[in-house]
């Protein structure tokens, strides 16, 4: 069993995401940093769909009521297990009664904690991920808080491992987000298209204070719609990473909590850069860059290869 002593800024249960029910509006609610989540699963020898904690902020603290192996990935944190410092992106053994503490988040925003065992949670619509907005899945459909206890069943032994530093992706601002053009890209003036994502003359956007698991609002130079288009579109399907432009011209990057949108979809963040979205925090800078679909596909293949390669590297270092 684990017990939350402090939930940090916010902690919730995530997994690989709930797919197949978009027609009734059920969003994936997946781990936002899929690479870090994938690395966590590999460190723990799990199948790629296991529930894990997604945590924001320092001060997170947890007590282990029994011995188990765990791993931590995602944002680079300064953490300790009792008095022993822990390195980021590694697995470690926790003794019964020991306390994990996160003292500082050094780089990035969200980090992931998983356990070599089965978290005793119920599947809701096939998955463990928390739909925070509607209050289902995860742990009682809500974020975790002080005193919450979760049983970890069937704990198993697994050799300890660490992901080498050069395999850990950068998470620091400024964030360069590569995009492909969206269905309403042509709704914007030539000047707006340049401001949005052309290397020369593009605007730097600030991540606003309005961010959550649903979306990230940016501030900066508004994009101007062409005169002959409607600013709102007939509501339609969206996918993670869709960049929507509401009437005020400022981009909103949609994450894993919506299946339908009603604003012009100027672009979509390429899949290889979706992991990065987990680490955008208020005050960070964002730059967009329009790339060709072939390049986006190539970058995704490369990301998948890097993730697959972790299986080999993480065992060697223990």
């Amino acid at each position: 069993m684990i017990e939350i002593i402090h939930q940090g800024t916010m902690t919730c249960i995530v997994d690989s995401g709930r797919y197949g029910y978009a027609a009734v509006g059920v969003p994936p609610s997946a781990a936002l940093d899929g690479f870090a989540y994938g690395a966590l699963n590999r460190l723990l020898g799990q199948d790629g769909h296991a529930p894990a904690l997604e945590i924001i902020g320092a001060q997170f603290s947890l007590r282990f009521h029994e011995a188990m192996t765990c791993a931590i990935t995602g944002a680079l944190v300064r953490a300790s297990l009792d008095d022993n410092p822990l390195n980021p992106w590694m697995s470690f053994s926790a003794a019964a009664g020991s306390i994990l503490k996160v003292h500082e988040v050094i780089e990035g925003f969200r980090y992931y904690l998983g356990f070599a065992g089965s978290m005793a949670l119920e599947r809701v619509i096939d998955r463990f991920a928390t739909n925070l907005e509607c209050g289902f899945g995860g742990y009682k459909g809500r974020a975790l808080t002080f005193g919450d206890r979760i049983n970890i069943d069937d704990c198993y032994d697994i050799p300890r491992g660490a992901i080498p530093g050069n395999a850990i992706p950068g998470m620091k601002s400024p964030h360069l987000l590569r995009v492909t053009a969206g269905p309403e890209y042509h709704y914007f003036t030539d000047a707006a298209q340049k401001i949005f994502a052309e290397r020369k003359g593009r605007s730097v956007y600030d991540v606003s204070a309005t961010i959550n698991r649903t979306g990230i609002r940016l501030e900066g130079q508004p994009l101007t719609f062409r005169d002959d288009v409607d600013k709102s579109i007939i509501s339609e399907g969206i996918l993670p990473g869709t960049v929507q432009i509401p009437g005020d011209g400022l981009p909103i990057i949609m994450l894993y909590e919506r299946t339908i949108g009603g604003y012009a979809r100027v672009a979509r963040v390429i899949r290889a850069d979706l992991d990065r979205l987990a680490h955008l925090q208020p005050g960070d800078y964002v730059l967009f860059e329009l790339v060709a679909m072939a390049e986006a596909e190539h970058l995704w293949e490369d990301r998948q290869k890097r993730l697959a390669a972790l299986r080999q590297v993480c065992r060697r270092v223990s």
Partner: protein, 223 residues
Amino acid sequence: MTVLATASQMNISRFGEDGIRILFGETYDLEIHEKVRNFYFFMRSLALPEIIDLTPSFRSCLIHFDTRLTNFACLSSLLREKEDESLCTGNTPDPTLHEIPVHYGGPDALDMKVVCRQTGLAQSDVIAIHSAVIYTVFAVGFIPGFPYMGTLDRRIHVPRLETPRTRIVAGSVGIAQGQTGVYPFPSPAGWRIIGRTDARLFNPGKEPYSLLQIGDKVKYISA
């Protein structure tokens, strides 16, 4: 085999690396929506492993596909090949008619007064007009189980809120422009709220989860 270069009824385009958008019309109406529905239920009937998700809506269907199993070129040529078949009604269920009781007005109907003022109608007229129509569920989304329904009588068309509310109660019945919908959960809301229902629109514990499916018909009953 299609021999003649007849105008296709499906406009196929990409939406990122793993998305295909199939557009069935420039605007939306029942005829276009019927194509969306036929297409959606046909695709579902194929149960292709390479299709991760389908999001049907007013005039389009978005396909989320697994790039490990297929690619845009393969999937779009499959769609072209099956275009005629996919627009047939063979797999499309008959829509279900639901009656949804609504408490109009009252403390939860945050915008009833504003709607009366904007339309110049008495509350009883707004209620009568809103509950007279049998609506069509054009899409389900925004949040799980939320039905985008049309078409609202022109006399009660009102704009969305300039600034959406951060939280309204579950069951809130809203209107905005030509549409009406019900919020299944407490959630942010940009539509004008004129009533509340006790009906449960989404139950994550029980299939098919959503009370309303695309194409279903809804009649509000003043409770």
